[in-house]
């Protein structure tokens, strides 16, 4: 397998505060990587780096072998914990958004035959995530789980090379979360996706991931807590998994 993402000696510093240090990481294409770690350890900063929302202070990030574009782009899709969908568009228009931006640079709207084709594609994507019956519903009227389904459909329609999930199921009820696990696992297989998921739920990380990465500080100075940054402290490849159903299977 080839590396879709390669971080070489990446540091992120805000003035004297070191957030991430000496991060060396290669992500295989098609992997489902879970990133875990205590809160405030820089998981979100890590995701912002990959998204291109911020640039490393030192080091390089390569995407598909080339230097990563330092701003968000179509090849890296994302689903946040909240606010991922547009409140003023119904479900169908939310999914159409990317297609319309690609198809019409000035108006960002499609008409007639091109709109019908895009509409069919978007409706098919929505039925894949189980929202076939909610095409004209606005996000405010959708439950938390359905909003996340919508956010996933909206991202996947652009066929991103990599999908970033930032605690996507953190705000959901346990039952709904279980459904979402099934959904994302199915989509990962069906679309051959590469997924990077930040989560604070270790069970979820092992259940879904083909690889689990733990970020934490290797060293701590109690007098100067910002002196040392976080890096990869554990890296579990779960190669034999394809996929493992629950963490219990790991020890079986």
């Amino acid at each position: 397998m080839t590396d879709i993402l390669a971080l070489r000696n990446v540091w992120v510093e805000y003035g004297d505060k070191i957030v991430l240090e000496k991060l060396d990481l290669s992500i295989d294409e098609g992997a489902f990587v879970s990133i875990v770690g205590p809160s405030g350890v820089g998981k979100s900063t890590f995701l912002r780096l990959i998204l291109g929302q911020e640039a490393p202070t030192r080091g390089t990030i390569a995407f598909d072998g080339d230097a990563l574009t330092p701003e968000p782009g179509r090849e890296r899709g994302v689903v946040f914990q909240r606010y991922s969908v547009f409140p003023h568009l119904n479900a169908l228009d939310n999914v159409l958004f990317g297609l319309e931006c690609r198809g019409a640079a000035v108006t960002a709207r499609l008409w007639a035959a091109r709109r019908r084709a895009a509409r069919d594609e978007a409706a098919a994507m929505l039925s894949q995530v189980g929202l076939a019956a909610a095409l004209d519903v606005f996000p405010a009227q959708l439950s938390g789980g359905m909003q996340q389904r919508l956010a996933i459909a909206q991202a996947l329609i652009m066929r991103p090379r990599i999908l970033l999930l930032d605690e996507p199921f953190g705000a959901l009820d346990p039952g709904v979360r279980l459904d979402m696990h099934g959904l994302i696992e199915g989509l990962w297989r069906a679309h051959g996706l590469t997924i990077l998921m930040v989560t604070h739920d270790i069970k979820e990380a092992f259940k879904l991931g083909t690889r689990v990465i733990a970020l934490d500080k290797r060293r701590r100075d109690p007098q100067a807590p910002d002196r040392y940054g976080s890096t990869v402290v554990y890296d579990f490849p779960l190669d034999e998994k394809q996929p493992i159903r629950s963490p219990a299977d790991l020890h079986g």
Partner: protein
């Protein structure tokens, strides 16, 4: 006994409670006016309802031989025209600048402080400047309304646009949207309901600036009329005119808030759990 703050009036009771003070004031006025007139038939401060109706017939039904028009309608037309043009300019300026400042950090850095500075200048204090530079015609009055409400509207709209969650903006970029496409399809639609709300809140100040400008230099308009007849202590014209202005203001306010709810239902639905 339930706590006072837990007692909520039903729909009918709410209406009755709302009307009660209005009716009470009207009653007190009618009683006071007739008592006053019983003592002094030439009393001018509290005209009777009959006197106001008589005067308003002259203003609102009879044609003024000098202008060939009915004064009330002529005044209303002139004032609403100024108000409409002023608010149209203010609203369109706000839409363009508010969006640009809200979406683009570069524009925010360049224009934000300027707008903030202009916003703290009391508009009435620049009225002499407007009269000197623009003359005493329509332009100065419209300019006062524009100057008075636009900076506030721009600040409000740009901060609203700036408060769109960053997640949405990043998400739009990951869907391939350009700056222009994000402004057009993400920021603009979410700014519109706020713009209308902002316009609604600006109606009050706009009326103040309109009446002030008309009071100082004009020959037609609602503000002109009440300040003109003030010289004759004509309370029997001033009071109905003020009531008419209040009615116009309430109607505009209601029309805007209704339009907002109709046009942007998504902005007014409570978030589901």
């Amino acid at each position: 006994m339930r706590r006072l703050l837990n007692i909520r009036p039903a729909r009918g009771a709410r209406l009755a409670l709302g009307l009660a003070p209005l009716i009470a004031i009207a009653l007190v006025y009618v009683i006071a006016a007739s008592a006053w007139h019983a003592a002094n038939p030439n009393e001018k401060l509290l005209p009777t309802v009959g006197a106001m109706v008589r005067e308003m017939k002259v203003m609102a039904i009879d044609t003024d031989p000098q202008t060939g028009a009915i004064p009330l309608w002529r005044d209303t037309g002139a004032s609403l025209g100024r108000l409409g043009i002023g608010l149209a300019i203010a609203t369109s300026t706000t839409l363009v600048l508010g969006l640009a400042i809200g979406v683009l950090p570069l524009v925010r850095a360049g224009l934000g402080p300027l707008v903030g500075t202009i916003a703290v200048i009391p508009p009435i204090s620049v009225l002499p400047i407007l009269f000197i530079t623009l003359g005493l015609g329509e332009t100065a009055k419209i300019a006062l309304i524009v100057f008075g409400v636009t900076p506030f509207m721009i600040r409000d709209l740009s901060s609203h646009v700036g408060a769109i969650p960053e997640e949405q903006i990043v998400k739009a970029q990951t869907l391939g949207a350009s700056t222009w496409q994000i402004a057009l399809r993400v920021a603009l639609p979410q700014a519109l309901p706020r713009l209308i709300e902002c316009l609604r809140l600006s109606l009050g100040p706009a009326w103040v600036f309109l009446i002030s400008a008309e009071a100082i230099a004009s020959d037609v308009g609602l503000g002109y009329r009440i300040f003109l007849v003030r010289r004759y202590l004509a309370m029997d014209i001033i009071l109905p005119y003020v009531a008419w202005i209040a009615l116009l203001a309430v109607t505009l306010d209601l029309a805007l808030s209704t339009a907002n709810r109709r046009l942007f239902p998504w902005a007014h639905t409570a978030r589901a759990g």
